[in-house]
Amino acid sequence: MESKAINHESSRARWQAYRRRPLSLLLRLAVTVSAAITVFVLIALVAYILIKGIPNLRPSLFAWEYTSENASMLPAIINTITMTVLSLLMAVPVGICSAIYLVEYAKRGNKLVSLVRVTAETLQGIPSIVYGLFGFLFLVVACKFGYSLLSGAITLAIMILPLILRTTEEALKAVPDLYREGSFGLGAGRLRTVFRIVLPSAVPGILAGVILAIGRIVGETAALIYTSGTVAGVPDTLMGSGRTLAVHMYALLSNGLYTEEAYATAVVLLVMVIGINALSGWLAKKVSAKQGE
């Protein structure tokens, strides 16, 4: 291409400009190198775990029963699914209903709204180990639930509540007011408008938040060790202790004898979380594409 094109400088002209202004060159180098470092670290991390882990994926790691010999992760995977479903069952309805109140019902300048926002932000900032100890003190000890899937799920439900609340709020806000006005104009009440008109158009946004929450549940360790415990099997009831995949991996590493199994578990965990996040990103993109129309 000719360098005469408008707003297009040839690489030689650019290089000469940089030679006259070394600071600019330095700044450009700095940002490029930083971005390169970030990408390199990420790829190194994922590649290292995949390369070291995949050869360690043995069929015995997916046996039905956990024994100290096979260190099977299948019970932990089942527990992870139970835990995810249970936490979502509690957190999603509450999160969505709260967001509906904040966006659709509360009047402007409502004191409660700002209070809920502040508390949701506070919840989001609390470290998972504090959630873990709170769950231990409140659910395991005070409510006498013991180390159980239920204690773990309630703790996690509180933990992901602000995430679901916030993403739902954003999704509801993104629904144009025209929809609501149209619905009211046709004689629908507020409740019918919310459930028939607003919520359906906000579904992809809400779903993206829910999937993000699943990612957090799957990856959580510190909040679960002292609430759902570290028993390696699948409990008979929700009141029994059982460890999720992330806690399973933590236990394998703390034990120190199961490094190969830990590599394999890391692969499964990583693939699960990457898949979950990709799904969420895809949904979020769909939402923004829709808004762009």
């Binding site: 019902y105 809920v116 900032g125 509540l161 830990a262």
Partner: protein, 292 residues
């Protein structure tokens, strides 16, 4: 007529009933915060009073068997490790955000952005594992320090962990700066780089600071990953290459087998951490308010 009236009434009842339901669910997050505060403080503060606030917060000896509960080494450890993570993560994070917002070709951006979002989703236990099997041996080779589990290792790992938070918040802060700032600087003869760094970046300052504070919160609160690479010696760290125990890892290491006052002291450790986090949250809220 009566039929119609009854239906309208039923509808009104349903409307106001659901209004109350929504209102109540909105209060659940308030309830959760109140419960967490009550349970943490009600369990922690009596313990701190029993040990003595001075002995607990400023004591340098942690020997649960001798009833010595001084958590100053852990407070210092948490601060060192977090500061190290900030020193490593913040410059790289902000520069990377600048690259993504102002330097990255569009096509590359479409690949890079999802990749970096991915970094945020990786579970902390996987970071900890990576730290344990890659950074620790590397550190051992490079420094010759025995064990390779030390402040530097933990800082490096946490620095990587907080990168995505800092990058994504800073990037949106940089993108929120009006284009006219950049164009004005260009019109005055500044190069692209100078315009970005000296006109756009200062305008995004408070947003970037908010990202940094979020990163600090994440670094100081991380428990299981830090426990794997920090060495966990409950003593005052002598150098960057000495092992260190943080507030969080103190809990994770000992909670499993602790009893009585020992367990209470660990819960009190969490209370101290909780107060740190609340302070960080308050400053975050203040910055966000200033930003408008």
């Amino acid at each position: 007529m009566a039929e119609k009236k009854r239906r309208t009434n039923a509808r009104q009842v349903r409307e106001s009933l659901m209004h109350v339901v929504f209102l109540l669910t909105a209060c659940i997050s308030i309830l959760a915060v109140v419960l967490i505060c009550i349970f943490m403080f009600a369990n922690g503060i009596p313990t701190i009073a029993e040990i003595g606030p001075g002995n607990f917060l400023l004591g340098t000896t942690w020997k649960p068997l001798n009833d010595l509960f001084g958590i100053l080494p852990m407070i210092v450890g948490s601060l060192y490790v977090t500061a190290g993570a900030i020193l490593i993560g913040v410059p790289i994070g902000i520069l990377c955000a600048v690259y993504l917002a102002r330097f990255c070709p569009k096509r590359l951006y479409r690949v890079l952005k999802p990749l970096i979002d991915l970094l945020a989703g990786i579970p902390s236990i996987v970071y900890g594992f990576f730290g344990l099997v890659v950074i620790v041996p590397l550190m051992q080779q490079m420094t010759g320090a025995s064990g390779g589990k030390n402040i530097l290792t933990a800082s490096l790992m946490l620095g990587i962990m907080i990168l995505p938070t800092i990058i994504s918040v800073s990037e949106s802060a940089i993108r929120a700066v009006p284009q006219s700032y950049y164009e004005g600087a260009l019109a005055l003869g500044a190069t692209h780089e100078r315009s970005v760094f000296f006109a756009v970046l200062p305008a995004a300052k408070s947003g970037i600071l908010a990202g940094v504070i979020l990163g600090i919160g994440r670094a100081i609160g991380e428990a299981t990953a830090v426990k794997m690479v920090a060495g966990n010696q409950p003593i005052m760290p002598a150098s960057l290459l000495s092992g260190v125990r943080t507030l969080t890892s103190n809990i994770v290491v000992e909670m499993g087998y602790s009893e009585g006052l020992h367990r209470e002291a660990l819960i009190a450790t969490a209370v101290v951490l909780f107060v740190f986090i609340l302070l960080i949250n308050v400053s975050f809220a203040a910055i966000k308010k200033k930003e408008g």
